[in-house]
Symmetry: C2
Subunit: 348 residues, 2 copies
């Protein structure tokens, strides 16, 4: 079975990671101070997820938010970014796999837009450099907006008079600002503001009462068990690619309808088979269903599967409950401005 | 041609209406006081569009607004009320005909939800008694939510724990409040608050400067030309059924792909052929495309067609421009609360 080709190597890497972790755990003093320990592994959300390539300005944010709701630039007039990332469902859509123009099914589950911009790449398999690239590619993506070309998108945007002023203000240096790259930058700028501070951030900043006892126990389990080898940093994930199914093939436990080869689809390297970007865990309790194919509905079920196939461990009922409780502390507050629907400019 | 069967009768009725109008016009003193005249024909929006059958309470409004965004009760998980009535496009969707579950095309253009509840019925042909009835029927409507039964909808709502409290609070008298009739009442209650006060309301209340000179000339044209025979009252329409194409068949001028027999589909009375509810003109400048089949894109084009086929007149360029300018004064303000997206309760 080709699947096991790199198994030994991966497990070896794993054992090294876990050893470093155990050593670090001893240095930190084990359970002595969960707060100090957590601050070594995680960090609170920034106010804006900055990018060197795309300065975030109020004018870009304003335009980007409008464009996020724009359906008229999709081939059947029904698809906007917000269709698969509705704010009402924490900027995910609750479907296993998103449905785009003309009922085409997208290859993978729609990740939330919240805190997306802080990750190493957008989506699951590293074929979208960043949120700007994702916004740009999606308009011509066959299962998403389905437009025949970038020019076709620009043409429609130019026909909607209200966009002239909005693009001019957001890109004052550009002579011809209605361009798909600026479209992408504006949406990206808006996305870079989509942070959702949570009780966990409050905890990290020193407020120990922000997490209940159960949640602190869950956090401790997350650390001790080794989940943090992948799920660490500001976003509790989203910083590396990893094989899904280290100890056993994932499809033995998920309810996957087909085997997705992950990053192999992009690189065609055998070693990238079943490799996916580690998803962030922020707002995970609000963004069911789970995994790249949305094949699992319940958070507890997803947690147990992760223990089994990523750590080779049977998570106990108590551990599972604690972990889920901790994960709910990652549910953040959506900023008021983000909740306000923009009114799109009309054609006339 | 069957179409002309009742033509003489309709034209006779029409001549009588126009005569009464002309007489009234003389009594009012012609152009002497446009404001007084306008107040005889129209009235400003109420704060809430009340119903005897459905008391509007804050708890119902809150629940109704959430349910408006609920996609999980549609057969493919993609349809909510807000899909065909997105607030960002003035609660219409910009499509000729809305596209529902599994890419099914709805029979007619989606009217805006704004000011909808004040009309004699919902939608185009009188097959939906009121906004509550519309909300209820849509969940099992094959081209909309497409659910197999009301019970199937109730089952899903019951599975989403957060709804229990919301329904209990909105319907405190009910032992088993998660019921499709309450679903409909909650959405209806929210819709009954969806009024959009406009410069025209300000004008009607006595502020003559609320309308520009052009707009006042357009209003005068609307009155003198007889458009107000149908487009009158608080909503500037929405209070009667009328034949679309009194002087000539509508499809000679619109770009209709097929002939829609209108209310005949409901009653099977020959006299109801090509009869539609008169649409309201509030926010008409924001809710292109036009007519029951969205077959016309531009407002000026729609205005000229109406003159031709409803009044048997050629509207001049100046009259057309003035009318369109007046119609933009019916674009109202969306209330702040309405612009805020609700967060849906999660399954767990």
């Amino acid at each position: 079975m080709r699947y096991f080709k790199n198994k030994e190597v991966v497990i070896l890497k794993w054992i090294i990671s876990l050893s470093i972790l155990s050593f670090a755990s001893v240095v930190w003093g084990g359970n002595n101070d969960l707060l100090i320990q957590a601050n070594q592994i995680f960090s609170p959300l920034p106010k804006v997820m900055l990018s060197e390539k795309n300065t975030v300005t109020p004018e870009k944010i304003k335009l980007g938010k409008i464009l996020l709701y724009e359906t008229r630039i999709s081939v059947d007039g029904t698809v906007s970014c917000a269709r698969c990332h509705p704010i009402s469902l924490y900027a995910a859509d609750g479907l296993k796999k998103s449905i785009g123009n003309n009922c085409k099914v997208n290859p993978r589950n729609a990740p939330t837009l919240f805190n997306a911009a802080g990750q190493i790449s957008a989506h699951w398999i590293g074929n979208r450099v960043d949120v700007e690239d994702q916004a740009k590619q999606s308009v011509i993506g066959p299962p998403s907006f389905g437009m025949p070309s970038y020019e076709a998108v620009e043409k429609i945007l130019k026909e909607i008079k209200g966009y002239w002023d909005l693009f001019n203000k957001a890109f004052p240096q550009d002579k011809d600002p209605i361009h798909v790259d600026n479209f992408a930058k504006a949406i990206g700028a808006f996305e870079r503001t989509l942070v959702t501070p949570s009780p966990f951030d409050s905890f990290l900043r020193g407020n120990k009462k922000a997490l209940t006892e159960d949640q602190q126990r869950g956090l401790n389990t997350l650390i001790q068990m080794g989940c943090i080898t992948c799920h660490s940093g500001t976003y509790v994930g989203g910083q590396m690619y990893q094989k899904f199914g280290i100890f056993e093939p994932y499809w033995k436990y998920t309810k996957s309808e087909k085997i997705d080869e992950g990053r192999y689809d992009v690189t065609k390297n055998e070693s990238d088979k079943y490799i996916f970007k580690v998803p962030i865990l922020r707002n995970v309790a609000k963004t069911a269903p789970y995994f790249h194919d949305g094949s699992v509905d319940k958070l507890i079920e997803a947690v147990l599967i992760m223990g089994k196939i990523q750590l080779g461990r049977n998570i106990t009922e108590q551990q599972g409950e604690d972990l889920v409780k901790f994960l709910t502390s990652l549910t953040g507050v959506i900023q008021e401005d983000v909740l306000i629907v923009p009114i799109l400019p009309s054609r006339e």
